[in-house]
């Protein structure tokens, strides 16, 4: 386990359609947790850099739900889900749907782990029902990069 580095680690499981992101934070887990549950804080970091993030509603408690939008150049991209289980400072289990693909849903589990010295290890796992869905999920919000990748891939496969 990486204790000294902050760098994000990605695990794309070959056997199960899930993606896992592991990241260390130099802050106690109450703080990291609050940054995930308080809409006034969430809006400050969750959205992609190029887009404005607008929260429709964000009720982070067991049985609550959320919906937010990424807005850029007049286009809106909506995301919503339910908070299935919220255990303060420990765990958030939630669903996640990109409204462009309304039938697609990911089940996400965020685990906040106290690693001592006032540091927190956050492991977020997103599980979808197919590998295609997982790959689309990984690709979401990175359409430019993906298009570029497809173009290059077509060239390579043609050559």
């Amino acid at each position: 386990m990486t204790t000294n580095t902050h760098e994000t680690e990605i695990i794309s499981d070959p056997d199960v359609p899930l993606v896992r992101i592991i990241r260390g934070f130099d802050a106690p887990r109450e703080k990291v947790f609050r940054a995930h549950t308080d809409p006034e804080l969430v809006v400050q970091w969750l959205g992609p850099r190029r887009h404005e993030m607008r929260i429709d509603h964000f009720d982070c408690r067991t049985g609550g739900s959320y919906r937010y939008l990424h807005v850029s150049d007049g286009s809106e991209y909506g995301f919503h889900g339910c908070f299935h289980e919220v255990r303060p400072s420990e765990t958030i289990v939630q669903t996640f749907t990109y409204e462009g693909v309304p039938d697609g849903v990911a089940l996400e589990r965020l685990v906040f782990e106290d690693t001592g010295d006032g540091r927190t290890l956050l492991t977020s796992t997103s599980l979808v029902d197919t590998f295609e869905g997982r790959d689309a999920f990984v690709a979401s919000g990175m359409e430019d990069g993906l298009r570029e990748a497809y173009e290059r891939l077509d060239e390579l496969l043609a050559g």
Binding site: T8, P14, F25, D135, M142, Y150, R152
Partner: protein, 120 residues
Amino acid sequence: MTADPLSKMFSALADPTRRDIVARLAIGDATVGELARPYDVTVQAVSKHLKVLEGAGLVSRSQDAQRRPVHLEAEVFDLMTKWIERYRLRAEERYRRLDGLLRTMPDDIEPMPPETGAPR
């Protein structure tokens, strides 16, 4: 040809034997016989795996009729790795913003925001 290229690559690499074959080919080209040797499988079984890898564009076979060595399309393989790396960087970028935000928050903050009562 329904699945998109990246999904094909992911599913081609979903099999541990095929990942082994790719790892072996990363060292250098090899014949089907050479690839089959370390495994307790037939040449036919390895050929089947190679067909899947070939279909995903990850390996190719030369026209040399006798040996037909298998070649890893390293550039295609790198492309997939790069794609995941881009996803990783996107997450890292987001989390760096979170780092900055965490520095501005008081240490003794409650993990949950205060109840607002009425829905907003």
